[in-house]
Symmetry: C2
Subunit: 314 residues, 2 copies
């Protein structure tokens, strides 16, 4: 195996880049801007440039590099084709092939949430696990499923799209995806705010949240941790829906660990406890003790997982 | 690759055996009784005997045999260890290792529902697909997930245990597993009868089902196909719960096809249409058109899938 590899995480505003040793040591990380003009045509050439410069700067020969892995914010199939990435202004794109041609290095691509899951399974919260579920609680709810040490891509690149698991057939408001009742409508940062506003409107119960003008997920979680009774009810609802959904996912993939990432996960152990309580209630018997842990790599999960994509079985 | 392989499906009363060519051609199938006395100690030796006799009878040398795959009614981990099989009176058992030692042939084992899924993906309803979900609607609801052409075993051998996905947090009756609200409580043969009895008790609506003494899933499905209005409501409930659950599973694994097997699937297209209607309603957008098809191999799915277990990547 070669000594080095690159892990790249393409976001809507910046591209995170990492130079790794193939044992998982992060040698250096840096960022370049994401140029989305002209349908994002410059993004892959920019990445190729920064890689070439890094190789020159560090006097690394191409044959010392195992390859370039990269994550993109959109569905990706197992053949390395990106099936549209709205934030990059990409349509369908043979992204792996293109970056390989631009760099002269082997290249592999995955969906960003899936790639982050691979990172957490490799060097993060579930280090060494071969089978995990990652749930990323951010503006939306993303996810990634690792089976046998590999990303579960899915037939349409929708493997791990757990935010759109329809868990509430009675929901009347629409999710961004067009359906009604998605997990994301409850368990994302915006979902938590939505649930909070409903609970606040439905009762006149006293709550520190009533003094806050623009309620955020963080304000709900802070009130919850401070013992606010209404915030407790809100988070019990979120915990029950999310824990219950994870229990269903467990019946499908029976993972070694469930990793919770994204901005919301910064709420830490109280949030995990609340999820775990309901997960345990609803999970199939042999899966009840599956650990639910907080993601560890933060914003670096993407570059770690991307690097792992191009490393052969260890 | 060798020319032959064996596919064995161990049930509680009989062991189905198949001699295959490694291209998937079934050469011959036969059955032997399952001897469950003495904690099922004789089961694997009996299988080894019948295999040896078959090789002698057909003058096949051991080096012409790729191996023996077998399915068992219990959880199995990816290391070939059966984690208990109640109907065989087995506790934990290194079954693959034991059968390999007894036969002098490579042996691999899987859970019977998972192995059936592999059979349907190899030579059945989803022939050639690398990623499928099988839902087996029998006395209970079993399942199997095939990812990248391989069985998803899971950390506790519970991969594909979709019958125990908890889809109804309001359920008051208990499932055999101890939880309340499992998919199996609605979508199995016994589940359909349970739902029917509830609907019959809850209204005085006329129905041909009221004339039947011992209602079975078949009688409900027959009435449904004959246009009975109450049976329609019953099957809409079953279809909504099962279609909705499959839509959730699709967000996790995004399969190429969903295969419906087991005794209940004999109801054919009307049942599939009812499931598909709700699947489509609740599935994530790119997964809405995933085909839902009836299993094709019937009772032979197990021997096909078991044979496939020991065949190297094609």
């Amino acid at each position: 195996m070669s000594a080095y590899c690159f892990g790249i995480d393409i976001g809507g505003t910046s591209v995170k880049c990492g130079l790794f040793l193939t044992d998982g040591t992060l040698v250096e990380k840096w960022e370049i801007p994401t140029r989305t003009e002209n349908k994002g045509e410059g993004i892959l050439p920019d990445i190729a440039d920064t890689i070439k410069k890094k190789l020159e700067e560090r006097k690394i020969a191409k044959d010392e590099v195992e390859g370039v892995g990269f994550g993109v914010p959109g569905p990706v199939n197992s053949k390395g084709v990106v099936l549209g990435a709205v934030n990059l202004f990409w349509g369908n794109k043979e992204a792996a092939k293109e970056l390989s041609e631009l760099t002269g290095l082997p290249a592999k691509v995955g969906n960003d949430a899936n790639v982050a899951a691979l990172g957490e399974a490799w060097k993060g919260a579930a280090e060494g696990a071969k089978n995990i579920i990652l749930a990323t609680l951010g503006t939306g709810v993303g996810g990634g499923i690792i089976v046998d040490g590999k990303i579960l891509y899915g037939a349409h690149g929708a493997g791990g799209e757990i935010g759109h698991a329809n868990i509430n057939h009675q929901e009347t408001e629409s999710c961004n995806c067009g359906n009604k009742g998605c997990l994301e409508q409850v368990a994302s940062a915006t979902g938590i705010v939505r649930v909070a506003k409903k609970y606040l409107a439905a009762s006149s119960e006293e709550s520190s949240l009533r003094k806050i003008k623009n309620i955020s997920a963080k304000s709900v979680l802070d009130a919850y941790k401070a013992g606010d009774k209404l915030a407790e009810k809100i988070m019990e609802k979120v915990g029950e829906d999310l824990g219950g959904a994870l229990a269903i996912f467990s019946c499908v993939v029976d993972p070694e660990a469930i990793v919770i990432g994204g901005g919301v996960s910064r709420a830490g152990q109280p949030l995990l406890d609340c999820i775990q309580k309901y997960y345990k209630k609803y999970a199939f018997n042999v899966c009840k003790d599956t650990p639910i842990v907080a993601a560890k790599l933060g914003n670096d999960a993407g570059i770690y997982g991307a690097a792992r994509l191009v490393i052969k079985e260890m």
